[in-house]
Amino acid sequence: MAKSVLHKADTRSIADHGWLKSFQTFSFGGNYNPERIQFGALRVLNDDAIDGGTGFGEHPHDNMEIISIVLEGGLKHEDSMHNVAVIEPGEVQVMSAGTGIYHQEYNKEDQVPAKFLQIWLFPNQRNVTPRYQQERYDTTLMPNQFIQILSPDKDDAGVWIYQDAWFHIGKFEAGLQIDHPLKNAADGIYVFVIKGSIRVNGQDLEERDGFGLWEIDSLDITTLTEAEVLLMEVPMNY
């Protein structure tokens, strides 16, 4: 029997620090909601916007798979592994924090806001050697198809992480029907609507809504408008 959890966009917690506005699907920082801790291995889904010329100063991470997807603008990244990079729309970045890293990330522009998704997954191994990876996916993005941007396999498409998870992203025209099979029937899949309106297994979703499903074999997606969608398949028991 299929199970699901719906997180409408307007039920997310908001952390407004002036320079940073963060819409948080799950409990984070001072926003603690025992009903909203995680979806399987998916622990953080923050939809962040930071002002030009601002950003997150140096701070540590450990034992977490941290994925960033920039939606608008760009982020400058520097970390204790000596990686220096700019991440822009159409790219995905991953840090496996493992035994511990420090990093900082700033808006690359002085005047223009940067918008990005900050996604954290519990790893399947603690205390791994930290690693960093960044890949451009928009060069392989075909209209009206999902493409894989993350997997657990270093030889597979997209970035890889220390967790049995698969992320797909796609941009679609209105009025399409898409069937998306899961890699593993024991997994759950979390649908996040970046833009537009869709229907997933009978549930209507608007921009920035999240919908988690498990005990299913596949997703049946109908695009109600032009839409951009992120799918995050994660283990429910990890």
Binding site: S27, F28, G29, G30, Y32, I37, R43, V44, H59, P60, H61, D62, N63, M64, A97, G98, T99, G100, I101, Y102, W120, F122, P123, Q125, R126, N127
Partner: protein, 101 residues
């Protein structure tokens, strides 16, 4: 009200310092910080803690062994594996851990 006592173990000195600073900044907790498994067992045996937070650095087997050693000494004290490194998850982990106790 008496502050809750938290024993934090982390092999990464920078993250340990950050965890300690963030937890104590809340004003609700007192932190005892340790950097090795041996020191953790010694301080745990000698003290009275409401929660143990295991941060990064130990090999997975050593981490499990440490948790087992702590549970033998005081099985009622919650031992929580910390994820995130002094991040926005910290206080949820502490709250969940204290709820277990």
């Amino acid at each position: 009200m008496k502050k809750k006592e938290i024993l934090v173990m982390c092999c990464h000195p920078g993250i340990l310092a950050t965890l300690t600073r963030l937890i104590e900044k809340s004003g609700e907790f007192t932190v005892t910080a340790t950097a090795t498994a041996e020191e953790t067992v010694n301080r745990f045996s000698a003290g009275s803690f409401d929660l143990v937070l295991l941060g990064a650095g130990l090999a997975p087997e050593a981490e499990k062994e440490l948790e087992g050693d702590l549970k033998k000494i005081k099985p009622e004290t919650p031992v929580v594996y910390h994820f995130g490194g002094g991040s926005g998850l910290l206080f949820t982990e502490i709250q969940q851990g204290l709820n277990q106790g």
